[in-house]
């Protein structure tokens, strides 16, 4: 509506309502004259005005207030610059932090909006931007990355890596940290600072609020380069009427809330307002380390000025008496008031901390070596000074058994407890735990109980035992004492068997790489042997071996142990396994005296037996033709009787492990809902299920320690991204998408003629189409909330993208107009439609259609006109040659014939070539080469996924790319043929130990 017209309406309406009802009509008609439209409008308004019911007469406020009480009902998301603000993360003196989504890249960021007062001083802002830009160049695992510093509507903001976790402040609030954790965090911080200092960046505001601890225990420092802004902005503001010396107290007065906390971490030179450099950060980190160890800040005071006075004058208060001499020295050196006596760099600081940590590790290794295979030695000597560490460990466990003083068998903690004890006896340190032990020996149990209670109530911990992404296979086992872990490494199709001490970084190779598979790994109950089953690619049966855990010669025990999933009896003398998926066999360790305990009917299958700790029953996973999902079944070993356990169905089970007290099972299983393999606790025998892990990774295999407190598993993470590969050279692959876990391109990739990449992604929650430039710029969403969009194809004129979506209820082909985003459904089949491909003249689309168990190629006009079957016989996945004359597709001439690749003329008729290229048939993912003389496809021979080219002439296929890792899902080739674009997933897997899962 035009504003002047609205004014006119308002004028007439106001006058009309002032009149008695009877006179209004005449008045309006008069005043509107020939403008009938105006007249009608006002009549309508008058009518609405007097209507009996008007929804606006209700007040929705109390309803609104109640809605305020519903937490999941969020505000419509706000937009700020290119960011969609999702929620408020926190507020502080340095600005407000929001969780936001970068709409260009679809990734989550922490968006920090700086207080406007800081943005006012242009000079300060320029300097800040300069420094922040430098800070954004810091690439370090312990530094939250700065993505962008910019301004929107004069508001200065920083987009930072979103780090999920709790701040060190929050962590310290709950409890003090163990020395080893404090050292670990400090090491990470020192390393981060060293990297920043190298680039000339000083943080200036290191404090627990700026350190974020993630779930895995790693730490990240945030807010690099930001402190400078507050300092400069404030000091510049006051330059006119005050001097530098007054700087800090003045700032304190200005913004007390902000500085009260910070002042405690300021270095003496900082509070004096003097020059600051890297050594200032060393000081602040020293304060943080002190606080982590002592549980309080070293320099305290009622007010900021008291704190400052304390920083300048007071001696460093003594650390708790159980702090080792080295750690004491390190902290003292970091907190020297004179900058010249302090650590001169973060890396010096780091080195000393690392030395301390290493001594601890070395020490541990020597203990293990010296006590080696004799873990059962008992405490006989009452003189503590001559006790071995292992003895003490046992003593600790023993007292733990007697008393509710939980010494907690988390190996990491035990390890450090041992070290603390060691320190005590070599007069370096007195550990808290030792005090507890001493106390308990003296009968002071209450003391011990109180001290340890808080330690007992702990959250589940997940600890990685291997470095990130070392490509472990899906099987692992932990020794009963929790000290050793056996696992399988994978490289291409080669697998090797390794042993690792839980507390030591390195691993030992037990069985060299070979083209085999290891279906199962077990430790003997005394932990001295590892039993493994192995399946050789060139043999039919699975063999069973025994090898000493600490190295030695492997001995074959049996030639044939069924499918190789072996479960040991509790006494370790017998084995249970499944043969032919139907027979539960129990045999001696050497495979002798096999006994069929129970058999499942012909249309059923059994897998993964797990022998109960009392030896009475075996649990296994069963499925049948009628019920293909897996369910748990319990078989009595003595009489073979069978009982179904009450459990929900599983898609897949990759590990079943009993808890030692038979109270439950740990299951590594994929449930039908999440379709992720997670660890579950199954409450035996009631069957109550509880999920232990809860994330988007997969957890394969499960193995539990003899005390039932730790479980290990293989954590797998798969990240799919789009890569551009020039000339097939893996080395120069460029990643152009950034998102993790969004399955980029996994359901299809296509290129426009100017090499923009259209790909599928779940960046926004649903699987939609996205488009990005080949250099990674200008990433944007093409389709919105179309469920399961897949298989995009770009028309030769770049106008349309044809793709498959089930928006209409079944999978059909739709097209989107790239110029205006309009959508059009092209096919309307009730079956399933797949793999559209444009004819090079752009007039028609070929596709695969499946209905009533029949699949064949169809053709439809570009506007959805005239869909007709193109090939009658069973055929799939049509691909048009570059000149448009030929169509290659999967083809099965009769139901008895093998799948082959057929080449048809685009005019139709009989196949011109029938090609026997099994690897292409298997790949189901092929395209024509640009010269139209061969087909390019994905091959995973030797376990490495690469692009290969198969000439139609029948010559030997040629390898195009040279990848040694990653899995290629989809690919496309630029129209000049020079570059390939791949959807490639990098899989990383690690052995993880989970504690306190109960």
């Amino acid at each position: 509506m035009q504003k002047d017209r609205w004014q006119k309406i308002e004028e007439i309406f106001t006058q009309a309502i002032a009149l008695p009802q009877m006179e209004r009509q005449k008045f309006v008609e008069n005043i509107c004259g020939s403008d009938i439209e105006l007249c009608r409008e006002i009549f309508e308004l008058l009518e609405a005005d007097t209507a009996e019911e008007n929804p606006l007469d209700e007040h929705l406020f109390s309803l609104g207030v109640k809605c305020l009480n519903v937490d999941d009902l969020l505000l419509q998301e706000s937009e700020f610059a290119f960011y969609r603000i999702k929620k408020l993360l926190g507020r502080g003196g340095m600005g407000t932090v929001y969780l936001a989504e970068d709409t260009r890249l679809g990734r989550l960021v922490a968006l920090k909006i700086l207080p406007a007062s800081l943005s006012k001083n242009i000079e300060a802002v320029l300097r800040f931007r300069q420094e922040a830009r430098t800070a954004s160049a810091i690439s370090h695992p312990n530094v939250a990355h700065i993505y962008e510093i910019s301004e929107n509507s004069k508001m200065l903001f920083i987009a930072m890596e979103f780090v999920e976790g709790v701040t060190l402040r929050e962590r310290l609030r709950d409890k003090t940290l163990a020395a080893e954790q404090a050292i670990s965090i400090s090491l990470q911080m020192a390393s981060a600072l060293a990297a920043a200092h190298e680039k000339g960046i000083v943080h200036r505001d290191i404090k627990p609020e700026n350190i974020i601890i993630r779930l895995d225990g790693s730490a990240k420092v945030v807010d690099f380069g930001i402190a400078k802004l507050t300092a400069t902005a404030t000091s510049v503001d006051r330059d006119n009427h005050t001097n530098e010396k007054q700087f800090v107290p003045d700032m304190v007065r200005t913004e007390p809330g902000m500085l009260m906390g910070t002042a405690s971490y300021m270095s003496p030179e900082q509070v004096r307002g003097g020059a600051t450099d890297a050594r200032t950060d060393v000081w602040s980190l020293g304060v943080v380390l002190y606080e982590m160890i002592a549980g309080k800040k070293p320099f305290q005071g009622e007010s900021t000025s008291d704190i400052i006075a304390s920083i300048l004058r007071n001696e460093l208060p003594e650390l708790p008496p159980n702090t080792s001499i080295q750690l004491n020295e390190i902290i003292k050196k970091a907190l020297k008031k004179s900058v010249d006596e302090r650590y001169q760099s973060a890396s010096d600081f780091w080195h000393d901390l690392k030395k301390l940590e290493n001594q601890v590790h070395d020490y541990k290794i020597s203990v293990i070596e010296s006590t080696g295979g004799n873990p059962s030695s008992r405490v006989t000597n009452e003189n503590p000074d001559s006790q071995t560490i292992d003895d003490l460990d046992h003593q600790l466990s023993a007292s733990a058994d007697r008393q509710p003083i939980d010494i907690n068998s988390n190996p990491e903690q035990r390890f450090f407890q041992q070290v603390k004890i060691h320190y005590r006896f070599i007069a370096l340190s007195i550990g808290l735990i030792l005090l507890v032990v001493t106390a308990s020996k003296l009968g002071m149990f209450e003391f011990g109980r109180r001290t340890e209670r808080s330690e007992m109530i702990q959250k589940m911990q997940l600890k990685k035992l291997t470095g990130k992404g070392m490509a472990a296979d899906e099987i692992t086992a932990i020794s009963p004492d929790g000290k050793y872990v056996a696992y399988v490494m994978r490289e291409g199709s080669l697998r090797s068997l390794w042993l690792k001490q839980v507390e030591v970084a390195s691993s030992i190779l037990i069985v060299s790489p070979a083209e085999v598979e290891y279906p199962s790994l077990n430790f003997s109950p005394d932990g001295n042997y590892i039993y493994y089953s192995v399946f050789f690619a060139n043999k039919e049966s699975t063999e069973f071996y025994q090898i000493p855990a600490l190295g030695g010669v492997a001995r074959k025990l049996s030639d044939d142990v069924g499918d190789g999933h072996i479960s040991l009896s509790p006494d370790g003398h017998r084995i249970a396994f499944i043969r032919d998926a139907r027979f539960l066999i129990i045999a001696n360790l050497d495979g002798n005296q096999p006994q069929t305990i129970s058999t499942v009917s012909k249309d059923g299958t059994w897998i993964r037996p797990a022998w109960s700790p009392d030896g009475e029953t075996v649990i296994l996973a069963a499925s049948s033709v009628a019920d293909p999902q897996l369910r748990l079944v319990e078989i009595n070993v003595n009489d073979g009787s069978l009982k179904s356990l009450d459990s929900p169905p599983w898609y897949r089970i990759s590990g079943i492990a009993w808890l030692p007290d038979k109270s439950g099972l740990i299951i590594s299983g994929r449930d039908p809902e999440t379709k992720l393999s997670q660890l579950w606790h199954f409450d035996y025998p009631i069957g109550k299920l509880r999920r232990i892990t809860n994330d988007l990774d997969n957890y394969k295999s499960a193995s539990v320690t003899a005390d039932g407190k730790n479980v290990i598993s293989v954590q797998q993470e798969r990240v799919s991204n789009i890569y551009v590969i020039p000339n097939g050279d893996a080395e120069s692959a460029r990643k152009i998408t950034l998102e993790e876990g969004t399955d980029d391109g996994m359901s299809g990739i296509a290129l426009t003629s100017d090499n923009r990449v259209v790909y599928t992604s779940i960046q926004n929650g649903t699987r939609d189409l996205w488009i990005v430039n080949a250099d990674g710029s200008n990433n944007r969403q093409l389709t919105f909330n179309l469920s399961f969009s897949a298989s995009p194809a770009v028309s030769p004129d770049d106008r349309y993208v044809a793709f498959v979506t089930n928006l209409s209820g079944t999978d059909n082909i739709w097209r989107i107009d790239l110029s205006n985003g309009s959508l059009k459904q092209l096919t309307f089949g009730s079956g399933k439609t797949l793999y559209p491909d444009f004819s090079p003249d752009g007039r028609s689309i070929f596709y695969q259609y499946i209905e009533n168990n029949k699949s064949n190629i169809w053709k439809v006009g570009i506007d959805g006109d005239n869909p007709i079957p193109f090939i009658e016989e069973s055929s799939y996945k049509p691909v048009l040659s570059p000149d448009g004359k030929l169509i290659a597709c999967g083809y099965k001439e009769t139901s008895d014939s093998l799948d082959r690749i057929a080449v048809f003329s685009a005019e139709g008729g009989r196949p011109t070539h029938l090609l026997d290229f099994p690897s292409i048939v298997n790949s189901m993912n092929f395209r024509w080469s640009k010269d139209g003389k061969s087909l390019i496809y994905i091959d995973s021979r030797k376990g490495f996924y690469n692009l290969w080219s198969q000439p139609l002439s029948g010559d030997q296929p040629k390898q195009i790319t040279n990848f040694k890792s990653g899995q290629i899902f989809r690919f496309a080739q630029t129209r000049d043929g020079k570059e390939f674009v791949l959807a490639q997933a990098q899989e990383s897997s690690d052995i993880v130990m989970i504690s306190n899962f109960n």
Binding site: M1, W6, E47, N54, D57, E58, G93, T96, Y98, M258
Partner: protein, 186 residues
């Protein structure tokens, strides 16, 4: 008060015509409103006499640094609260229409659920759309509707918040009310 300085600053910026500032303000104010509402609900269990002005006032006093702002800012703050209430209700209506939630939806008890039927949800969404159109050519009226309808403020409260005469509010309200009724019935 440091944190509040910032909210105050944003509020002033918004008042001075910096539109995007509101996007940053909304989550901050929303959080406070929620906290106060939570508290009020606990305190006044079973009693539905929640006072509009009281609630927003409480948030205002908590969030805004009184020493820094002229008293007119209170009006703007009320405006922001009204926008939040509008968004929350519309979102709820959308959500309800989408999920066809049962009458026992968390935030509504049975008698109020009658008010918030599916039909009602649709009506609210239509109203929101119409209000968006009104905003284009008459911002004042749309803000009055926001305050009166979505935020339940009386004529007097609205007048005070907008620093205009109560009669002026009545005048705007009457036409806006009629126009919106006409629009959603159309």
């Amino acid at each position: 008060m440091t944190e509040n300085n910032e909210i105050t600053e944003l509020l002033i910026q918004w008042k001075n015509g910096n539109e995007p500032a509101i996007e940053l303000l909304l989550p901050l104010v929303e959080k406070e409103l929620r906290q106060i509402a939570h508290r009020q609900m606990r305190r006044e269990r079973g009693d539905h006499t929640l006072q509009t002005t009281a609630l927003i006032n409480e948030a205002y006093i908590k969030l805004i640094d009184q020493t820094q702002v002229q008293w007119q800012n209170r009006a703007h703050f009320f405006g922001i609260s009204a926008i939040i209430m509008r968004r929350i209700l519309i979102n709820y209506a959308r959500d309800r229409r989408a999920k066809k939630r049962a009458a026992s939806a968390e935030c509504i008890n049975i008698d109020e659920a009658i008010v918030f039927t599916e039909e009602k949800s649709q009506q609210l969404i239509d109203l929101d759309e119409a209000l968006k159109r009104l905003e284009v050519f008459d911002k004042m009226k749309s803000r009055i509707v926001e305050m009166r309808f979505f935020s339940g403020m009386s004529i007097e409260e609205t007048a005070e918040a907008l620093t205009i005469a109560p009669a002026t509010v009545s005048h705007h309200w009457r036409l806006a009310r009629a126009w919106l009724k006409k629009e959603i019935d159309a």
